[in-house]
Amino acid sequence: MGTVRYHAKLPGQKAHAPVDVQPRGGGRYAVTYNGKTREVDALGLEQGTLSLLVDGQSLSAEFEQGNELLAVLLRGQVTKLDIVNDRQLRMRAASASFAAEGKQLLTAPMPGKVVKLLAKVGDEVQAGQGLVVVEAMKMENELKATRAGRVTEIHVQEGQAVENNAKLVAVE
């Protein structure tokens, strides 16, 4: 069985690094990363769980696929990373787009209710200034501007229920 190349990018890293997976049958693999090759025995349990033996070390690994990154839970540490195969990496390169610069779009970090708007369209705001208060689970959470600028869009009203990731306020 041939070696399959994957590409991993950890947060803070500029580029993907190769990870070579060589299946050896019976759930065994030789995996090469960072110049080291390790023996891996992998057993799939529930959806998103692998029992791994890596050079004898026993690791119960849990996986959760997010919108962009794969979260790996291993011995209490959560590592979020981008992991793609060759084809996916090529597609990624082809469709790379330039993110809009300069605009900060504040989105709801969890589902909740907008209890107060602290700015209106046209306001000049400072970095760290509160823009909107969202209540979730009986706690009020003030969401702040991460940059100075002018409020250009407000997508919600006071009293409105918002879903996770809903657009709230834009600052440019």
Binding site: A8, Y33, V72, L74, M110
Partner: protein
């Protein structure tokens, strides 16, 4: 009073389950009330009977005295256990229960009146000769409030007069933050207790939050069951509790216990209550408030005293005498941590959502009081606490190691929790030293978010690559015309073998 045969639990989540468990052991039937958002909750499934009392918002369901009393009547419940929060410290509800002929499992309305409104409690305690923190009555205007704060000097604490549990509470260090803190404290207090009265206390130097569990019966006996150290707080909510307090000497324990009993006696207290104190750096202690109900963190007291506090609550509501007439000597050490659906790295932002997988710890001297299960969706409407994990061991050092071990077994998928943060607390030198004040968690925040272990990161990359490979193979195997270049994968046979993959 007659034996209680059927208890309506006017609460939700883990505490509803906690109360039902003791009822079951006593042969008492249980009635759950639930909001529409809680139809799938574990406490509904575990009750003998369950009735919907309204929509998600607490004010339209868990705070609806009329609807809850109507369910009590319909179901034939002869008693109501209020848990903590919601109606548990509401004297008007106690009176309504009395009027309806239903036993309220808790203190009489008079004791609640005397202690429930925090500012009135201060006045009563001053009268009873109990030391209190310098502070005000409830204040009517922000200007009056600001003026007091400037007089006693910052930092100050804003507190809801109508209730506890960190709701409507704000520490203000900077005069510039005062107005915004005042506004949000009032708004939160209204949401949580239906009462937006807020008062001010001077913030003490490096205070410890130490509380004494008290218990009274209807025969005039009042005892205490030792203390709980609750100084590990974030956003004024407790995160870790333990008993004995690492800073208490037996002499202090006896003194604080005596004062707490005096406080309870002053209001003719009956049932379970907690007298909260602040202990300053000189180890002087001040009455803070009395919680006239069962406390979230009661399990640590249960571990070291062997007492089932809910059982006592019920028996005392039935008219029994206290089974003990003095505080038992603490046996060993207990620690509790609160598992929250929240992200410590995002300013403890709540993280409701569906729990896709759950593994809770077990083994010697571990207790998990949980209100959730795998497949359950944590609703966005209520407190983000999903479980309380507590341990017992002969010594504090062993209890810390046991808690670390237990947390290492705790696995929740689908939502973000503070499990790793809790584990970092157990490893933190200040916590391990034992002398941590209420500034501990904010002060150590960055350290508690943890540092990346590079070896684990490397293993995670390897694990991710193997996982990606198995996923790719499964996808190939699922396609009718799979890429024939790869040999048949064992992953395919797993799904065929019936594993939920």
């Amino acid at each position: 009073m007659a034996k209680i045969r059927k208890v309506l639990v006017a609460n939700r989540g883990e505490i509803a389950l906690r109360v039902m468990r003791t009822c079951k052991e006593l042969g008492i039937s249980t009635v759950a009330v639930f909001s529409e958002a809680d139809r799938s909750a574990l406490f509904v499934r575990c009750a003998d009977e369950a009735y919907c009392v309204g929509p998600a918002a607490s004010r339209e369901s868990y705070l609806r005295q009329d609807v809850i009393l109507d369910v009590a009547k319909r179901s034939g419940a002869d008693a109501i256990h209020p848990g903590y929060g919601f109606l548990s410290e509401n004297a008007s509800f106690v009176r309504a229960c009395e009027k309806a002929g239903v036993t309220f499992i808790g203190p009489p309305a008079s004791a609640m009146d005397a202690m429930g409104e925090k500012t009135r409690a201060r006045a009563n305690m001053i009268k009873a000769g109990v030391p209190v923190v310098p502070g005000t009555d409830a204040l009517s205007s922000v200007d009056e409030a600001r003026a007091f704060a400037q007089k006693v000097d910052f930092p100050v604490m804003l507190k809801a007069a109508g209730g506890g549990g960190g709701k409507g509470m704000r520490k203000v260090e900077d005069p510039k933050e005062f107005d915004s803190a005042w506004r949000s404290a009032k708004s939160e207090a209204m949401g949580a207790f239906g009462n937006d009265a807020v008062y001010i206390e001077k913030f003490l130097d490096k205070p410890h939050h130490v509380e004494i569990q008290v218990f009274g019966d209807t025969h005039g006996n009042v005892i205490h069951l030792n203390e709980r150290e609750c100084s590990a707080q974030r956003r004024h909510q407790k995160v870790v509790e333990e008993t004995p307090s690492p800073i208490l000497t037996p002499k202090m324990r006896a003194e604080m216990g005596e004062v707490a009993v005096r406080a309870a006696r002053a209001v003719n207290y009956v049932g379970a209550g907690t007298v909260e104190f602040l202990v300053d750096s000189a180890r002087k202690f001040y009455f803070l408030e009395m919680n006239t109900r069962l406390q979230v963190e009661h399990p640590v007291t249960e571990w070291v005293t062997g007492v089932d506090l809910v059982r006592w609550q019920i028996q005392i509501a039935e008219g029994a005498k206290l089974p003990l007439l003095q505080a038992p000597t603490p046996n060993g050490h207990s620690i509790e941590v609160r598992v929250y659906a929240e992200d410590p790295a995002q300013n403890f932002m709540p993280s409701p959502g569906r729990i896709t997988a759950l593994h809770t710890p077990s083994g010697p001297n571990i207790r998990d009081d949980s209100g959730v299960y795998a497949g359950y969706e944590v609703p966005r409407f209520y407190d983000p606490m999903i479980s309380k994990l507590s341990v017992w061991a002969p010594t504090r050092a062993e209890a810390i190691e046991r808690m670390k071990r237990a947390l290492s077994e705790y696995m929740v998928k689908g939502i973000t929790t503070n499990v790793r943060y809790l584990s970092a607390i157990m490893d933190n030198p200040e916590f391990r030293g034992g002398d941590y004040d209420t500034g501990f968690l904010p002060r150590q925040h960055q350290a508690l978010l943890g540092r990346e272990n590079e070896h684990l990161t490397e293993l995670s990359v390897i694990a991710a690559a193997v996982y990606a490979h198995t996923q790719d193979e499964k996808r190939k195997a699922a396609l009718p015309a799979a890429a024939a270049s790869t040999a048949p994968s064992r992953w395919r046979s797993f799904s065929v073998a019936g594993r939920r993959t």
